[in-house]
């Protein structure tokens, strides 16, 4: 029984999540083929332990992302009782398109998988967990960092297949990323500053970390009221915005009840405050008692290191 993994690439090389997907497949004891759209990362894929075969699919249609074209090119080459991909935006679209072409069901963003197949995933934006049983053949996309990565040391055979697939989506031009930062109400990660930042200019430290994480920058009411430079649109709290990000980082915010009302439903809360008795520590999952001057440079350094790996 074969499992096909559709690999994920990033800037032309193999994305680390691909090794995690191979790891998940390997724990099910399947013979694993990795299919590389556009050929990106195929030689790295061949070195993942447990991979039997790599199919590098190449052609002009892979110059830009066209889901239907890619799916038409890949579907005939993708086989097996189980097809896996990452649950990135493109990973999901592609596997859903391929699954429909093959007439097999697809389940997305799975965090746990055992043979059978029994899959676990979160639904309602994480408010509930779902367990489903899926009949083979089927397609499943896996969430990053949920499965143990397969090691290296493999030496799979790479087969190159050239395809010429008509493209129906043409990229006219790349648009400059919006210069304004993400709005707090839309972000998965928010870093907020309070009056403890001392000066609105110090929010630049928060901006730097936000840039690293692709986060939005928020503020407490105290900061908004005290400083003209901190606009009301950044305010999180009773009379500001209510937010439910995956991660809320509160820096120099005491945690008054009005602020908590706006962010207490965040999935995870990291608080940095020099006052060990600050009420924010009562709701924080991780609390660091430190001045922001000491903590933020270290945070920036270690986040940069982690994210570059």
């Amino acid at each position: 029984m074969v499992t096909t993994v559709i690999s994920e690439s990033s800037n032309g090389s193999l994305h680390p999540v691909s090794a995690q997907i191979v790891g998940a497949a390997a724990s099910l004891g399947e013979a694993i083929t990795v299919v590389c759209p556009g050929g990106f990362g195929s030689s790295e894929a061949a070195q993942i332990s447990g991979v039997a075969k790599v199919i590098s699919v190449e052609g002009e249609c892979f110059e830009n992302y066209d889901c239907l074209a890619w799916s038409k090119a890949l579907s005939p080459l993708v086989d097996g009782d189980l097809i896996l991909s990452s649950s990135s935006a493109i990973g999901r679209e592609l596997i859903a398109s391929i699954a429909a072409a093959k007439g097999i069901p697809v389940v997305q963003d799975v965090t746990g998988l055992t043979s059978g197949f029994l899959a676990t995933r979160s639904i309602f934006s994480g408010k509930a967990i779902e367990e489903v049983s899926i009949s083979a053949p089927c397609a499943i996309s896996l969430r990053a960092n949920s499965f143990e990565s397969a090691g290296s040391g493999g030496s799979a055979e790479i087969t190159t297949i050239d395809v010429s697939q008509e493209v129906s989506v043409a990229v006219k031009q790349a648009l400059a990323k919006a210069s304004e930062r993400l709005d707090v109400s839309e972000a998965d990660i928010i870093i907020s500053g309070g009056r403890g930042m001392g000066d609105p200019a110090n929010f630049s430290h928060l901006n730097e970390i936000a840039d690293l994480l692709g986060a939005a920058v928020g503020a407490s009411r105290a900061a908004v009221d005290t400083w003209d430079d901190i606009p009301h649109s950044m305010q999180v709290g009773q009379t500001g915005k209510t937010v439910t990000p995956n991660l809320y980082i509160a820096v120099g915010i005491s945690g008054a009840i009005q602020h908590l009302a706006g962010m207490r439903s965040s999935k995870f809360i990291l608080a940095i405050n020099k006052d060990p008795e600050a009420p924010i520590f009562g709701v924080a999952d991780y609390g660091i008692v430190s001045t922001w001057e000491d903590a933020l440079p270290s945070l920036k350094e270690h986040l940069t290191e982690l994210l570059s790996n």
């Binding site: 979160s122 006219k172 270290s298």
Partner: protein, 251 residues
């Protein structure tokens, strides 16, 4: 000509989700709404209609209560309303077969829906339909426009936002964009009240809703949050960063 908009009714995203007897308890849901990303699809569809493209056909597949979505869509400008009524829990093949049959019946060459529904958070329907209908696909679009027969869109591509040109027929899935969602008004609400809803069953469209290849075994609440961990001094930052990745999986 015409735009088919696929709408899914979900518990309002601000609702508390409660579990009882291993299943999400629907009776405790106080407000049902159109899935938020689908609202952006509807807004863009109506904009195309206002540009002269054709009628907007709003389609939903779900239990009887889902017809409310269609009336809400009519109140802001949807012309034709199709409700495929089913109480069954459907897998991706079933739902896509139903919706593609409905789209074919509507003869619409442009299909729009949200990039993912607020309940399953999956995002399979759009790309799956593109494949089964053989329609082009553009995902995570924030704007679609038509100029002299050519369709262009702004979408989030692999390296950032980009402007694309698309061959029709096409499926677009939508992300939240800059477009403000239009509000209904009393006139729209009163006209919507009078609008006929075409009601079908999955069987009418040749789909057996009874046998699913994906069976829900159980629902449960997310694990209780661990008690908060407190660290003293900035030396703890590396350890906390590690925990954010390993324990919390948020970065």
């Amino acid at each position: 000509m015409g735009v088919a908009v696929l709408l899914k009714q979900v518990p309002d995203t601000t609702s508390k989700i409660s579990i009882s007897s291993g299943r999400v308890d629907e009776s405790s849901v106080t407000k049902w709404s159109i899935s938020p990303y689908d609202e952006y699809a509807l807004e863009n569809a109506i904009k195309l209609k206002e540009g002269g493209y054709g009628d907007v056909v709003a389609i939903t597949c779900g239990p009887p209560r889902a017809s409310k979505c269609l009336t809400e869509a009519a109140a802001v400008g949807a012309d034709r309303l199709i409700h495929i009524v089913t109480d069954s829990s459907l897998d991706s093949i079933q739902i896509q077969s139903i919706l593609s049959a409905a789209v074919k019946e509507s003869e619409c060459e442009i299909v729009m829906c949200g990039k993912q529904a607020a309940d399953t958070n999956s995002g399979s329907t759009g790309p799956g339909l593109s494949s089964s209908l053989g329609y082009s696909f553009v995902g995570a679009a924030t704007r679609v426009s038509m100029e002299g027969g050519a369709v262009s869109a702004t979408r989030l591509g692999p390296s950032g936002p980009e402007e694309v040109e698309v061959r029709v027929p096409c499926v677009f899935t939508f992300d939240k964009g800059d477009s403000e969602l239009r509000r209904p008004n009393v006139r729209g609400i009163m006209m919507a009240k009078k609008k006929q809803i075409d009601t079908l069953t999955p069987e009418d469209l040749g789909v057996d809703a009874s046998i699913s290849k994906v069976i829900i075994e159980s629902h449960s609440s997310p694990p209780e949050k661990q008690p908060g961990q407190k660290f003293v001094g900035s030396e703890s930052v590396p350890e906390v960063v590690n925990k954010l990745r390993e324990e919390a999986n948020v970065i």
